[in-house]
Amino acid sequence: MLKPRRVFFGIVVLFIFLVALPLSASVFIRSSFYSLVKAPVTFSKTVAQTAVDLFFFARNAQENRSLRKTIALMRFDQFKLEEFSRENVRLTQLLELRRTLPADVRRLVFARVIARSPAAWSRVFLIDKGSRQGVKENMLAMSDSALVGKVVETGPSVSKVLLITDPNSKIGALIQRTRQAGILFGTSQGECRMKYISVDTALNQGDLVETAGFGGFFPKGLIVGTVRRAWKEPGQIYQVAEVSPLADLSRLEEVVLVE
């Protein structure tokens, strides 16, 4: 008969062993396992996605009609944007400003989301591209032209992306209007917040938040979301802003990885 003390001792020993494993060994074990589970996990996702598509057929048809209208409107907006873009080029040349956003992005990789973390406290997903396709750690993941997360681990053909709403995620960001910098991080409730913003900065609801690109580690100027509300933490000298991501993080299917 198994004694409770032995069971407890066994768990403690195993836990200590795993904690003592170097991080590189943990990453190696995980990446090896990704390749093993890639096929069944992709299959389960395809089945679920098909079921959802069939179940929401009427809603999708409605959405399709609505999107057609949006596209027609966007075509009109595109003409206007082209005009603005040309004007921007002229003004940039006049002011001799450096164009930061396009110059920063060196490479793009398109990937499909094949699995999401089953845990409610963790916001991680797997994509079907890995180091063989040129995916590297710390590449930023974008969807709907907005930042959704960053690559934290890569296997040969699968990589792991950490969403900006995960508590592990920390990315340098700034408020577009005021140029005030801070750190964007996730919370255990799945919210996205930005802290270390100076209390002197007046934040408005709807202010755009973008990547800061300090040190050249991440591309600069990628849109993340908008400020929903801001407050001063008790006893702190900075304020915190709750940020609503522009991309719908609960329905990610494809992402673009940028370097």
Binding site: L18, L23, S26, R116, S117
Partner: protein
């Protein structure tokens, strides 16, 4: 190890795949099937098997984690052992057990994970905020509704026949 016990690993892996599929249908709201499986086998087969299966399910969960391996293995393993020790005290086929145990285990798991998150990644008070945040009523109701069906299914197809 007998055949039903070997099959238990397969069931847990199937639950893992189903869980992945459900995450696309109900993002962030899908019940934790893996935990229902671990609690069921703990209650049916005892603490040792509950521990082993918990460690296996925890490893599958850890695959989606970040950083070092082992946290979910420890949590799931502990919940498997706790369910196993409850084997002699409760009737595993009763509806009340099937409703209360997985939901209770899920609440405990959320508390443990929120505590770990607070300790390692966030600043802020632990209790009672953690206990309050973990009290996610929709998720607990989801677990309580689904678990009797999974218990019944596993009782019928996954356990060895007792003479």
């Amino acid at each position: 190890m007998n055949k039903p016990r070997v099959l238990a690993f397969l069931w847990i892996f199937i639950f893992f795949l189903l869980q992945n599929g459900l995450q696309f249908v109900f993002p962030d709201r899908a019940p934790l099937l893996l935990l229902i499986g671990v609690v069921f086998y703990g209650l049916s087969e005892g603490p040792l098997f509950g521990l082993i299966l918990g460690l296996y399910a925890g490893f599958l969960m850890d695959i989606f984690g970040v950083g070092k391996l082992g946290l979910q293995m420890a949590f799931f393993g502990s919940l498997g052992v706790l369910s196993g020790y409850a084997k002699s005290k409760v009737f595993s086929e009763s509806l009340l057990t099937a409703i209360l145990f997985p939901a209770g285990a899920y609440y405990l798991l959320l508390c443990l994970n929120f505590t770990a998150t607070r300790i390692f990644f966030e600043e802020g008070s632990l209790a009672p905020a953690v206990f309050r945040e973990a009290l996610s009523i929709p998720a607990l109701i989801g677990m309580a509704i689904l678990s009797p069906f999974i218990f019944s299914f596993l009782h019928r197809f996954a356990l060895r026949k007792r003479s």
